[in-house]
């Protein structure tokens, strides 16, 4: 297990270096002088010079890259050129909101998607199965930004049940939950479908296994067979999917964050791109990548922990 973890960490490091290289080149590939692009057309020469010095643009490109890598390795992702705040601090602050959004989205998707998938699997080809299939494909097919806009128009504009924007009053968890409801609905809806389809397929496969037939033959209650035996095995691919989904949604939640004006890492990256605030773009993407790697690793380890067959292959 330890060698597996070390191997994965080594690969992760290579991924991080590749991402840093791409991010670094971003600044130099954008047409126009980076300082003018960032500060606007009428920036004073003094401001342009200060920016260039702060970003080490006055040094050779290779040197700039090495400085960036060295600083990033030490946890210094630079400073926001506009506010002078630490990029690492800004990105970490925003990451909390995105993690909350993604967690709640996936939580409700699991609570609905997994039972729906089980129900469809234990009654294959019944009307429940068909209805679940239609709902699943429907929710997968509708992009989350369409759901976001639809939910906003219906629940905020028309019915005025839920707030249209923001993350809620700091220090007021109920208000924050209230503000989380619509974005979580929008982000999680597609995952209800994914999970239901995945669980159904896995369950159908597992339900045909000899040990399940044996359990039925021993007269165990059907509920116990389904939830106690079949689902325990069928859920394993879903755990991997949830791990990957969680990571993907860290940046995928950007639409919901923009539409509902929620702070979050996706929105931070989007706003920084729009403002040509390159240090923040670089830092936020790097942090997201690091988190993606960690979460994927954790989900793989959880699967290995749950499934002895996987554990033996490590």
């Amino acid at each position: 297990m330890l060698s597996y973890i070390l191997k994965r960490l080594g690969l992760s490091l290579a991924v991080v270096v590749a991402v840093v290289l791409v991010l670094f080149s971003l600044l130099h590939l954008i047409p126009g002088d980076p300082a003018t692009v960032a500060l606007g057309p009428r920036a004073t020469p003094e401001a342009v010079q200060r920016y260039a010095e702060k970003m080490h643009l006055d040094k050779p490109v290779v040197m700039q890259f090495l400085i960036y890598v060295k600083n990033a390795a030490l946890g210094d992702l630079g400073v926001d050129v506009f506010s002078n705040r630490s990029v690492a601090q800004i990105a970490i602050d925003r990451m909390g909101f995105t993690v909350a959004l993604v967690s709640v989205s996936l939580a409700w998707a699991v609570l609905l998607g997994v039972p729906l998938g089980c129900l469809a699997a234990v009654r294959p080809n019944s009307w429940i199965d068909r209805l679940a299939a239609v709902l699943s494909v429907g929710t997968i097919a509708i992009p989350s930004f369409v759901v976001s806009i639809w939910a906003l128009l219906l629940f905020s504009l028309e019915l005025r049940w839920l707030p249209a924007m923001g993350a809620g009053e700091p220090g007021d968890p109920l208000d924050q939950l209230h503000h989380l409801a619509l974005p979580a609905l929008a982000v999680g809806l597609g995952w209800v479908g994914y999970l239901a389809r995945m669980v159904r397929a896995s369950m159908l496969e597992v339900m045909g296994e000899p040990y399940i037939r044996a359990a039925h033959a021993f007269g165990l209650p059907p509920r116990r067979v389904v939830y106690g035996y079949a689902l325990r095995v069928a859920i394993l691919p879903t755990v991997t999917l949830i791990g990957m989904g969680f990571s993907g949604l860290l940046s995928g939640a950007v639409f919901a964050e923009i539409i509902f004006a929620r702070p979050g890492i996706g929105k931070l990256i989007f706003d920084s791109v729009m403002n040509r605030n390159f240090p923040v773009v670089q830092g936020a993407v790097l942090l997201t990548t690091a988190l993606y790697i960690v979460i994927t690793l954790i989900s793989d380890l959880v699967v290995a922990w749950l499934d002895p067959r996987v554990r033996e292959t490590l």
Binding site: G32, N84, R85, R94, W108, L157, P163, A261, K267, N275
Partner: protein, 521 residues
């Protein structure tokens, strides 16, 4: 055996689902507003981004100026009377008078105190604040400023190094005119970002990054009490998002785009009203007079006559913009009400082109890559096609667009032919003129013409304090610009706010809001 009892918290599947359902249901319930909140007058506004630097010397501008206006003293503030922009002294001064073209006397009001232990607001604070500005990023606003002579504890004289008529409107009413506490600034190393070192104003400022800026009453404030107890400025970067939030009843006021303005003109949301803050932007079609294809003035004149400005304003801007006849914006001294050298006349355009002897002309029109500019460019393309000029539209990203006429950025200025350009300006005509003097050729004068009379008039306009004479100067300057044939004036896009009809808003001509001047009707 011991007598210990253990309590086991067990979680059954049903219990877990029930708890989850309850939490979900609680989240879905509309938020209950208690009596305490109902009693508090709260104003919910939009902030288009986090405030990054509140220091007037190094700010980005916009909402940072709005924050300064709530927490720092200013000597003057904007006033709009009969559509004309002017100024008036603020609560912070008992006297503000222009003694002569280079001297402005002021006396601070009695009893103004800085927060913390930084004592009273003094004339020396004004001296420190303004003299410091000369070495900052916003030093351009202080080009004509020489020094402040302190004549008493609360009185002094602002001395200019040359006559500069718009100093009060341009500088003292705007963000760079904020006064800082010298003592507090020394305590923080003479620079600050998102925390004011000391405040003197009706509100205390607090920022929650990524979420909002909050203004709550300043307990030390002895001046006029604002109508609202709390102002929440919520960070909503997208204008469309803010418009929806307004329609959902979550904002009391927000800026809207021209397409939304057109929609509201047809059907205004219930209980809403729109207010135009100002129209301090001018959009025009420019022509590089030194480009071989456009050196013939008759060709440029033909283009001036061919372009249907009304069609652009209707087609690309939904008819909600003010048609432009020059680069002096509505409400300012010297605004023109008609063009002098051209009208939309296709026959005349054809005749001029015929007279020029130019045949089969092909031109490139470079525009900023956004929806309105692209639509406008397509209308220009069709207009010029009607007189036999083929136009190729080249949309540009902001980076290369703002460099394409600048000699310092390479050779691309030599290829520049036609372009649509929009400049924002301050509430005085001098600012719009400064970009077209001879020294700006290859900098911002991308039309690349020079005129000694224009340069002379520009200097005269700066020093002239008689409004009537200034109006004459700026009218003549626009005549000169138009006569070059290098301009087709298109529009002045308004900065418009939609707001609850029981709230009277206060917006500067440059669109910054002043929350303390908002009124609950």
């Amino acid at each position: 055996m011991t007598g210990w009892k253990t309590t086991r918290f067990t979680t059954t599947r049903r219990g877990f689902l029930a708890a989850g359902g309850a939490v979900g249901a609680a989240a879905m319930l509309p938020k209950w507003v208690g009596p305490a909140q109902a009693a508090e007058r709260v104003l919910n506004l939009r902030l288009d981004a986090d405030n990054a630097i509140l220091d007037p010397g190094y700010m980005v501008g916009g909402s940072e100026i709005e924050a300064q206006k709530q927490c720092l003293p200013f000597l003057a503030q904007y006033v709009v009377e009969d559509g004309a922009v002017g100024w008036e002294p603020t609560y912070f001064v008992s006297k503000l008078e222009q003694r002569d073209p280079t001297h402005i006397d002021f006396e601070l009001a009695e009893g103004l105190m800085w927060s913390g232990d930084f004592g009273p607001v003094l004339a020396s604070d004004v001296k420190y604040s303004y003299e410091r500005m000369k070495t900052t990023d916003w030093s351009g606003y202080f080009d004509a400023f020489e020094r402040v002579d302190v004549t008493g504890e609360r009185s002094g004289t602002i001395v200019l190094n040359k006559p500069f008529a718009p100093f009060i409107v341009i500088t003292l009413c705007h963000g760079p005119g904020a006064v800082l506490s010298e003592k507090a600034m020394m305590a923080v190393g003479e620079k600050f970002t998102t925390e004011f070192p000391a405040i003197c104003g009706p509100y205390v400022y607090e920022q929650i990054p990524g979420q909002r800026a909050v203004f709550t009453p300043n307990p030390d404030w002895t001046g006029p009490k604002p109508d609202f107890d709390r102002v929440n400025c919520n960070v909503i970067t997208e204008m469309k998002g803010a418009e929806l939030a307004f329609e959902a009843g979550e904002l009391h006021c927000t800026e809207i785009g021209t397409d939304t303005l057109a929609r509201y003109a047809d059907e205004m949301p219930a209980g809403a009203k729109v207010t135009a803050a100002g129209e301090l932007q001018y959009l025009w079609l420019g022509m590089n007079t030194q480009h071989p294809k456009l050196q013939n003035k008759l060709v440029r004149r033909a283009i001036q006559h061919a372009v249907d400005v009304e069609a652009i304003n209707q087609g690309a801007y939904s008819g909600v913009v003010t048609r432009s006849y020059g680069n002096v914006c509505p409400g300012l001294i010297g605004q023109r009400t008609t063009t002098r050298y051209y009208t939309h006349d296709v026959a005349k355009a054809r005749e001029l082109l015929e007279e020029s002897g130019v045949r089969g002309l092909e031109l490139t029109l470079k525009v900023l890559n956004n929806q309105e500019r692209m639509l406008g460019a397509q209308i220009i393309q069709a207009n010029l096609a009607a007189i036999g000029i083929t136009v190729k539209i080249l949309p540009q990203d902001a980076g290369p667009f703002w460099e394409m006429g600048q000699e310092s950025k390479g050779e691309q200025w030599k290829d520049l032919e036609l372009f649509t350009m929009r400049f924002a300006t301050t509430p005085d005509p001098y600012e719009a003129m400064q970009w077209f003097v001879s020294s700006q050729v290859g900098v911002w004068n991308w039309e690349r013409w020079t005129d000694p009379e224009f340069d002379r008039l520009y200097e005269e306009g700066l020093g002239e304090t008689d409004p009537a004479k200034r109006a004459e100067i700026y009218l003549r300057m626009q005549d000169i610009m138009e006569e070059t044939g290098a301009y087709v004036w298109i529009n002045h896009e308004p900065e418009v706010y939609v707001h609850a009809d029981d709230v009277e808003i206060s917006a500067a001509p440059s669109a910054e809001l002043d929350y303390r001047r908002f009124r609950q009707l």
